[in-house]
């Protein structure tokens, strides 16, 4: 890092540290009191939200409140960014680039910046960031808080693998610079935002002049066959994932497609615009009425549209990187009926048993699935990080009385198969299941409580998981 940049970073730090003086600054920002829903609409809470747009205000909010939690884009599948009686700090205004070093291949950004904005900056300059969630509006702070995986964890690893360091603001401990190797580094990655408010993140970037993605689609008659196909194809592409119709029965269960994608340097220009999940009230009202009906057609319509498309295609890299962009209607339609996302990594040895039992459970409870998807994972369990070797199975289930009972039985299946549930996706996962599934649960809990003794960082998710 050049001297000049170091000066600026130091200057920013001086400014912040000077302000870690509790109760000296009056909280002048208005507080929005609203009902905050999870993305699945399955959970809600009456929350208080504040949106500072200056460091002075951010500091005053953090130091004056007893229970706080940061919020990025507000698109969490569970209520990770609000708590009863606490204050949610929306970080949207902190979305600037602090440093860009094209020689040492890193970028420092504020945590409120979205992944879409980051890629829109990097791509024209011949750089690439590899772990990308499916929706461009998701904030980098949120990616860090859940140590998210992209389209293909097997190839790209977790978000945390690309993080070189970050800056935390804690109500009692003030500003903390965290670097790789620090205990707080691992605790904060996937720490659900409970170690403090992340203000800046230093990310690894790579010189890759990617312009397009070559996408190959392979049909698959049963979801169980995916493991063999993944194994065969993993060396032939840069990322792979699949889509499955889980509403079909017996030999057709989970019929779908496996997508193999390869990055290319050929120019392919098409317009990219970040979509809006928070669109107009009129559209929301219309979807509220029509949404429940739309849900029934999601799987057959998607399958039909895919059949009509060529099995191999080239797409603009930005549009291809965000498969959920401009498909907001899916979340709105399913949200109008409420849904649960269930995601877990199943060890390879248990894959066939898991999928057979899952199919039986689905038939037993007759629940509706609006999405099924698979990814290949590799890695080892650590704290509450969602990683281990196996197949990552994702299913969206429309809410009903049966759905909850079905999911409870799925939890048992998951534990029997030594699978790992994703805390960030499942809005009803109990502390008991998490404790049994995650070997690092107790370690995470004790480390977190040692760091944040008074539980000043507080969210509904923290309460549910009892950490």
């Amino acid at each position: 890092m050049s001297q000049r940049c170091a000066n600026y970073v130091a200057l920013l730090s001086v400014g912040l540290k000077n302000r870690v003086v509790k109760n000296e600054i009056q909280l002048k920002l208005p507080i929005l009191e609203t009902r905050l829903y999870s993305l699945t609409q399955a959970e809600f809470i009456d929350a208080k939200i504040v949106r500072p747009d200056r460091y002075r205000d951010l500091q005053s909010v953090i130091t004056r409140q007893n229970k706080i939690i940061a919020q990025g884009a507000g698109l969490s599948y569970c209520l990770a960014t609000a708590s009863r009686g606490g204050l949610t700090i929306n970080m949207r205004a902190f979305n600037r680039i602090v440093e860009f070093n094209s020689e040492e291949n890193f970028i420092v950004v504020e945590a409120g910046m979205s992944i879409g904005e980051l890629l829109m900056f990097l791509l024209p300059r011949g750089f690439w960031f590899s772990v990308i969630p499916g929706y461009p509006k998701i904030s980098l702070g949120g990616c860090l808080a859940f140590n998210i995986h992209g389209k293909s964890q097997y190839h790209q690893g977790l978000f945390g693998d690309q993080v070189l360091g970050f800056t935390l603001l804690h109500p009692q401990k003030g500003e903390i610079e965290v670097a790789q190797g620090d205990e707080l580094f691992d605790l904060s990655l996937g720490g659900m935002g409970l170690t403090g408010v992340v203000t800046k993140i230093k990310l690894k970037i790579s010189k890759q002049n990617f312009k397009s993605i070559l996408k190959k689609r392979i049909p698959i008659s049963h979801i169980g066959h995916a493991q063999d196909l993944f194994e065969k194809s993993k060396g032939q592409c840069d990322q792979m994932y699949s889509w499955h119709n889980l509403n079909l029965k017996r030999k057709d269960f989970g019929r779908g497609y496996i997508y193999l994608e390869t990055f290319a340097r050929d120019e392919y220009r098409s317009k990219f615009q970040i979509g809006k999940l928070d669109s107009s009230h009129l559209l929301n009202a219309a979807i509220k009425v029509l949404g429940p009906m739309l849900c029934d057609f999601i799987n057959p319509v998607y399958e039909l549209l895919e059949k009509l498309r060529a099995s191999q295609s080239k797409q603009d890299i930005l549009n291809a990187s965000f498969p959920l962009n401009h498909k907001e209607i899916y979340f709105k339609a399913c949200g109008s009926r409420r849904f649960y996302e269930y995601q877990c990594i199943v060890p390879f040895d248990y894959w066939y048993i898991f999928i057979e039992k899952f199919s039986d459970l689905k038939s037993k409870w007759d629940v509706e699935c609006s999405l099924g998807s698979l990814k290949l994972f590799k890695g080892e369990q650590k704290l509450l990080h969602f990683t281990m070797s196996g197949i990552c199975f994702t299913v969206d289930i429309l809410a009903s009385a049966q759905a909850l009972k079905f999911l409870q039985e799925c939890d048992e299946l998951l534990l029997n198969c030594k699978a790992l549930p994703n805390i960030s996706k499942d809005s009803r996962l109990s502390a008991e299941v998490v404790q049994k599934a995650y070997l690092g649960y107790s370690e995470f809990k004790s480390k977190l409580n040692n760091f944040d003794e008074q539980k000043m960082m507080s969210s509904s998710l923290r309460e549910r998981l009892d950490v």
Binding site: C5, I49, R56, I97, N101, S102, E103
Partner: protein
């Protein structure tokens, strides 16, 4: 209370430049540095000022950013430099400082850049205490921040218009100045005074072909309006900035933004006092 950061004077006036290996490739198509316009933004740490900085930088302007918070100024400056390759100078100036000297500050600013073609005045402040019969300190503070010191700054810098090749002075006002009410009395009065001052200045500077524009802004979507129950939708600062830049080379005079506020203000003006005094807004 002003909250200055304790940093060396040497770091106050910063020109942020790229280091080796930090120049974005997009710079290659930018106009030569000496052909680029320089815009000064007073109140550039957040809201419309920050949005203006980003939009102007995206249109190849060099920037002089002024605010009382160096931390946010530097963050904005870095962002504009890295994204768009603009040259950016930052100055920490507090309109509420005890012995505000416009001359001193203008000398500092002009020593950084000899040419300042556009001046954007977005600074201002209001206080919760400014309701009903405010105390002397609040009235003085509101007047100094929102009118007196800004008027001094504009007046002093206008004296150097020819030297700095000044073309446009743009001042942000508020609808509060046009619809006085029991809340923010001192703030609204100061803004009204600033508007009046700028109208006079517009007339005076017209002979020198310098445009003076006044933007009367409605509700803005900032941290200060977030969560408040507003009668009309709040506008994104980015949209305001884009509108200002679109009109930069036109002699638009006074602009209400969003446009419907013009009609609301007219309606309020013609409202009989018997009704007006009952309004709660």
């Amino acid at each position: 209370m002003s909250s200055k950061i304790n940093i060396d004077q040497a770091t106050h006036d910063q020109m942020i430049t790229f280091q080796k290996g930090q120049t974005p490739t997009s710079n290659m198509n930018l106009p030569a540095k000496n052909l680029r316009e320089t815009s000064l933004i007073f109140g550039a740490s957040s809201g419309v000022g920050r949005a203006l900085a980003t939009e102007l930088a995206s249109q190849d302007h060099d920037l002089i950013l002024i605010a009382r918070e160096q931390v946010d100024l530097i963050a904005n400056a870095r962002d504009c430099e890295i994204r768009f390759g603009s040259r950016v100078w930052t100055f920490e100036i507090d309109l509420n400082e005890a012995h505000f000297s416009a001359e001193f500050h203008i000398e500092r600013v002009c020593s950084a850049s000899p040419r300042i073609q556009n001046i954007f005045i977005c600074a201002g402040a209001n206080e919760a205490k400014d309701t009903g019969l405010s105390d002397e300190q609040t009235i003085r503070k509101m007047t100094e921040i929102n009118f007196l010191n800004l008027a001094l700054f504009i007046s002093q810098i206008s004296k150097q218009a020819a030297r700095i090749q000044l073309k446009t002075i743009l001042v942000c006002s508020s609808i509060a100045a046009h619809a006085p009410r029991s809340k923010n009395i001192a703030y609204a009065s100061a803004k009204a005074a600033l508007e009046s001052f700028c109208c006079g200045l517009r007339h005076f500077l017209s002979s020198q072909n310098i445009r003076v524009q006044i933007y009367v802004l409605g509700y803005l979507d900032t941290g200060l309006s977030y969560g408040q129950k507003l009668l009309f939708p709040a506008v994104e600062p980015k949209l305001v900035a884009q509108k200002m830049i679109k009109n930069l080379n036109r002699d638009v005079g006074r602009v209400f933004y969003p446009w419907f506020w013009r009609f609301i203000i007219v309606a309020l003006r013609f409202l009989p006092w018997a009704i007006y005094k009952r309004l709660k807004f």
